[in-house]
């Protein structure tokens, strides 16, 4: 592993994604190349349908690319099968989604503990309680998602994302479903935890203001990377 790859927690080379439709092959992403340094925060911006969510799904190993290479903390994601990708996510990746994606039958505490339990960790409870305290929900640990407000549910999702101290956090429009007050609270929580845990943050958003809070911006339009503020990329490019 090169010194460069140790610095670059995410490396993307010539990434393309094409889907087959009735009308023929439809390119969603074309020849995307960039790197993200460990601990950085990167915003992926673009209009609706530009391919930013597809990029996120490929970076997180939720979907497979048609072409190109993705290295996550040095692991060649593009060569791994579904089980290996899941194992990689369990070890190194956290998620926050627009629609919270909490398991309705589990309490706030249990939702936070879920990734650790799936990974077979035994002492997740204490860590989960601490995270819930950090997001200001220590008084709601035994509540079910349906008993929490949207903002509270997203805070549980953030706490869940940070359990196991992931190296990379992927966030997909984390404040889009919330009012501006809760939205701002969630955004500041994300950046705070990102900094305090030294986590790399990849944030998909169409909100320019939120994007500006990140260290770097990747702008996608019609499946092409049209703007990259990362100096590292410029050097490599």
């Amino acid at each position: 592993m090169s010194a460069l790859s140790q610095l670059n927690i995410i490396q993307v080379k010539g990434l393309s994604k094409t889907v087959t439709t009735l009308e023929g092959d439809l390119p969603i992403l074309s020849d995307i190349t960039f790197n993200v340094k460990s601990g950085d925060s990167v915003a992926v911006v673009g209009t609706s349908g530009s391919g930013k969510s597809t990029l996120l799904s490929l970076l997180a190993g939720l979907d497979q690319s048609s072409k190109g290479e993705i290295y996550l903390d040095g692991e060649p994601l593009h060569t791994l099968n579904e089980e290996a990708r899941a194992a990689l996510r369990a070890a190194k990746v956290g998620f926050v989604f627009q629609s919270f994606m909490l398991v309705q039958s589990l309490t706030a505490l249990e939702n936070v503990m879920l990734p650790a339990e799936l990974a077979g960790e035994k002492n997740a409870k204490q860590q989960a309680l601490e995270l819930l305290e950090k997001v200001g929900l220590s008084h709601r640990v035994e509540h079910y998602p349906s008993q929490l407000s949207g903002g509270e549910q997203q805070r549980v999702a953030i706490a869940r994302a940070f359990i196991g101290t992931p190296k990379i956090l992927f966030a997909d429009e984390p404040s889009a479903n919330l009012d501006s007050k809760n939205g701002k609270l969630i955004e500041s929580l994300l950046f705070e935890l990102n900094q305090s845990h030294g986590t790399t943050l990849v944030l998909v958003t169409h909100d320019e203001t939120l994007a500006q809070k990140c260290q770097h911006i990747l702008q996608i339009e019609a499946g092409q990377l049209v703007k990259n503020t990362s100096e590292v990329i410029a050097n490599v490019g």
């Binding site: 939720l62 899941a86 070890a91 589990l106 879920l114 990734p115 035994k122």
Partner: protein, 833 residues
């Protein structure tokens, strides 16, 4: 670790009610099968025991010659119980009186089935005797006491021996008709036969060997016996006797089995719907778990554990409730029939458990496999995996499972195929009807915003889901209608066969000279009497000049000897009539004309047994005289009418010169018994055969079967309701969304309520109408083919179906939705989240 998480998820899902419906559906399948099969099993055993009582055994070997004793020894080796009977007529002497009587000598084991009823004196009370008379003793029927002017304790001479009269014989299980005052019956111990010296070479004696035991043992024994059997020996069981009770029992058995199948179909629908719904609701959690790093193996383990727990829990619940229900049902049946039902065998338990497990696995495994395949990407693309919603494989698997379960449960491929195919036709028709309804709103030109147009729009919007609902509702309604109509037809058919004024005694052996006096006496005493038929005993000796062979056995499914024309092996009561009996139906040919010469009318089953056809010539042997008659008509005879019936009726010209006696049936009400006895005293040669208790037995069995059918019906109604509940629950989320949208758009509560009500009304009425049509067609086939009832259409159910369907579905559906509609919009949004 996964197990802990799985248990935690299971307990939460269970508490949230996610798994309740699927558990209830499996439990319902188990309890339905257990209750039905246990009740069927117990009633079946009871019926078999009762039936066996009619011949005092499970099988009888009969002959007019001595039957080798080693048959009995061999039968005992096959673990069968055995008994021996010998019938002969002889004179009895006592107090200078003499009387010709029918003697039945019985071995100590008699009766193997049923009860012997006796009295200690003529005025004593009836009691059950465990076995026949001991050595040196005889039992007489009441008429013998009067004829010989004796009492219990007197000495009587029977042949060369003397006997003490010990009991008054009231009822023998294997006497098809009970003994009336003039039937002279004597019961003797078999060991005393030699002492009487009555049986001499050339004596007219009939021998019977009785066998009882496990059906498999009987089959094994018969396999051994069959090659040894001689021409003069006849093997039969209760089912071979052409009695109304046997026919009714066979019908009851078929009906209960059919009802069991219907319960399974309904339970299967509920399970399939609930399992699919549960799995759909797990798509997001599974996608999330995969995203958070959960491996496919872990997820598979979690949900397979859920399935196992659901299976275990629901099977247990089903067994407990099912056992309780059948205890209540059988307890009620036993009480109402003053009869205790035998304990159930292990079969119902095994059938119920395996049905539960098969249903749990087969109806949920495909949605579960689909669930395992849900891609983690669903967390970003929420509609991913929705293409799995309508799975052809799941439908095919469910269909195949239903078919196999039906087949296994009924053990009758024909009835399974009829039901299954009629259901498939119903499904196809309903898809067509769904399309008509979905396009109907626009064609009707309803104004937008009316409750009806909203209801139709709602049906149109959920086209596929509603088609599935429509099919399920139709299936439930179809099964209900099917059962209700079949039950009514069967009961009314039975009832019509046995009207309340059915004859309860036969008068036989009336001479021509006695006929006018007897007729006027009966009229004078206001005793109802049917026609008098002349009878003479005769045998069919040849067909078209070819001698017939004696039939040796009636064992089920036994093939006839292809080389020999089968005969009937016994003498028949022949009659001759100018007019066809009113209760007989000519199904082929024409009744005798006034100019008919040497013609015969043959009953349809006899036609088959003799292997003859219209136009064949039968040769009859009466005593030493023989004559020919040509078959010119075939009759269908209802043997259950309890009126005199004949296999063969001849044209009057053939038998007019033969000496005949007359037979008729009468209806004797309580107080007429004394007057009737007086008639018999005045005409000692006339015999009367009481069939009152026989009729009571038939009525009691019909009543028992009616109760069982009512119980089965109640279970099917319950199953239908649960299918409906599971269907409505499956659509609850979508309905909540609609209500929210409509409210947001300013729709009034009443509009939404009416739209929902009309939607269910339309669904139910449409389903009910098609269900009525389909079930009526299926009924027509089933009644004709399976139950031997006259098939007929029931136009009233074409109205009843939509009406019942509309009311049933709308009331139950509306009740299910009412709580949701009472919630405010915020509450609904929260529930949806």
């Amino acid at each position: 670790m996964w197990a802990k998480l799985a248990l935690k998820l299971f307990s939460r899902e269970f508490r949230r009610g996610e798994l309740t419906v699927i558990c209830a559906a499996i439990a319902l399948a188990v309890l339905t099968v257990l209750t039905l099969s246990m009740v069927t099993d117990r009633i079946g055993q009871s019926i078999a025991q009762k039936s066996s009582a009619f011949i005092a055994a499970d099988r009888v070997l009969a002959s007019s010659h001595t039957i080798p004793a080693d048959y009995l020894t061999k039968a005992q080796e096959y673990k069968l119980q055995t008994a021996k009977l010998t019938y002969f007529d002889t004179m009895l002497f006592a107090n200078d009186e003499m009387q010709l009587s029918s003697v039945k000598a019985v071995s100590p084991e008699y009766p193997l089935k049923g009860e012997l009823k006796v009295k200690s004196s003529l005025t004593g009370t009836v009691e059950v005797a465990k076995q026949g008379p001991s050595e040196g003793h005889v039992w007489f029927s009441e008429s013998v006491f009067y004829a010989l002017k004796v009492e219990v304790g007197d000495i009587v001479e029977l042949g060369a021996a003397q006997f003490v009269i010990e009991k008054v014989l009231v009822e023998e299980p294997d006497a098809p008709f009970n003994i009336f005052s003039s039937s002279r019956r004597v019961l003797l111990n078999e060991a005393d036969i030699d002492a009487t010296q009555v049986i001499q070479p050339g004596s007219r004696v009939f021998y019977r060997q009785l066998y009882a035991g496990d059906e498999d043992d009987i089959t094994s024994f018969y396999a051994w016996l069959k090659p040894q059997m001689k021409e003069n020996q006849q093997w039969y069981g209760v089912k071979d006797r052409q009695s109304p009770i046997a026919n009714s029992l066979n019908r009851a058995e078929s009906f209960l089995l059919l009802a069991g199948l219907l319960g399974i179909i309904l339970a299967a629908v509920a399970i399939a719907v609930s399992a699919k719904r549960y799995c759909e609701r797990q798509y997001d959690p599974v996608a999330m778990m995969k995203t958070l790093g959960g491996s496919r193996t872990t997820i598979r383990k979690i949900y397979l554990l859920h399935l196992s727990m659901v299976c275990l829990l629901s099977v247990l619940v089903g067994l407990v409730i099912g056992y309780g229900l059948q205890e209540i049902a059988t307890g009620y049946l036993a009480k109402s029939m003053s009869n205790s039902l035998p304990a159930a065998s292990a079969k119902p338990w095994l059938v119920a458990i395996s049905t539960g497990v098969i249903c749990a696995v087969m109806f949920s495994i495909k949605p579960l496999l689909d669930l395992f395949d849900i891609p983690p990407l669903r967390v970003l693309r929420r509609n991913l995996g929705d293409k799995l919603l309508v799975s052809k494989v799941h439908l095919a698997m469910s269909g195949l499972t239903v078919f196999l379960l039906m087949w296994l449960f009924s053990n009758n491929i024909k009835i399974t195929a009829i039901l299954f195919i009629s259901t498939l036709i119903l499904i196809a028709l309903l898809f067509g009807l769904s399309r008509l309804i979905f396009g109907g709103g626009r064609k009707l030109g309803l104004r937008p915003g009316s409750s009806w147009s909203l209801a139709i729009a709602s049906i149109q919007k959920r086209a596929n889901a509603n088609a599935v609902q429509l099919i399920s509702f139709s299936l439930a309604i179809k099964l209900l209608l099917f059962l209700v109509v079949l039950k009514n037809d069967m009961i009314s058919d039975w009832e019509s066969q046995l009207p309340s004024d059915a004859p309860n005694a036969f008068l036989v052996n009336i001479t021509e000279s006695e006929l006018p006096e007897v007729n006027s006496y009966l009229a004078q005493k206001n005793i109802q009497v049917s026609e008098f038929y002349p009878t003479i005993r005769g045998r069919v000796n040849a067909v078209n000049g070819e001698l017939v062979a004696r039939e040796v056995s009636l064992e089920d499914n036994e093939k006839k000897d292809e080389e020999a024309r089968s005969g009937i092996g016994r003498e028949l009561n022949l009659t001759w009539l100018a007019d066809a009996p009113a209760h007989n139906e000519i199904i082929d040919g024409q009744w005798f004309t006034d100019e008919a010469i040497a013609e015969a009318s043959v009953e349809e089953s006899m036609l088959a047994r003799l292997d003859v056809k219209m136009g064949d010539t039968l040769t009859f042997l009466i005593g030493a005289q023989s004559f020919d008659a040509k078959i010119t008509s075939v009759r269908k005879v209802n043997w259950a009418t309890l009126k005199p019936n004949f296999f063969i009726i001849l044209s009057p010209d053939v038998l007019a010169d033969f000496p005949a006696t007359y037979i008729s049936s009468v209806r004797i009400e309580g107080e007429q018994k004394r007057e009737f006895s007086e008639l018999l005293r005045n005409y000692p040669t006339i015999n009367a055969i009481d069939v009152d208790s026989f009729v009571k037995q038939i009525r009691s069995t019909i009543s028992q079967v009616s109760l069982a059918i009512g119980f089965v019906l109640a279970i099917v109604v319950l199953c239908g309701a649960l299918v409906l509940i599971s269907q409505v629950q499956a659509s609850l989320g979508e309905r909540m969304q609609e209500i929210v949208i409509l409210r947001t758009l300013g729709a009034k509560g009443r509009l939404i309520k009416n739209a929902t009500l009309y939607e269910f009304l339309l669904l139910g009425a449409s389903a009910g109408f098609v269900a009525a049509l389909i079930s009526d067609l299926a009924l027509l086939v089933v009644q004709k083919e399976m139950f031997d009832l006259a098939g007929k259409l029931h136009p009233h159910i074409w109205l009843l179906g939509p009406l019942a369907g509309g009311i049933f579905v709308s009331v139950l559906g509306y009740m299910m939705i009412a709580r949701t509609m009472r919630k405010n919009t915020q509450g609904l949004l929260r529930s949806l989240a």
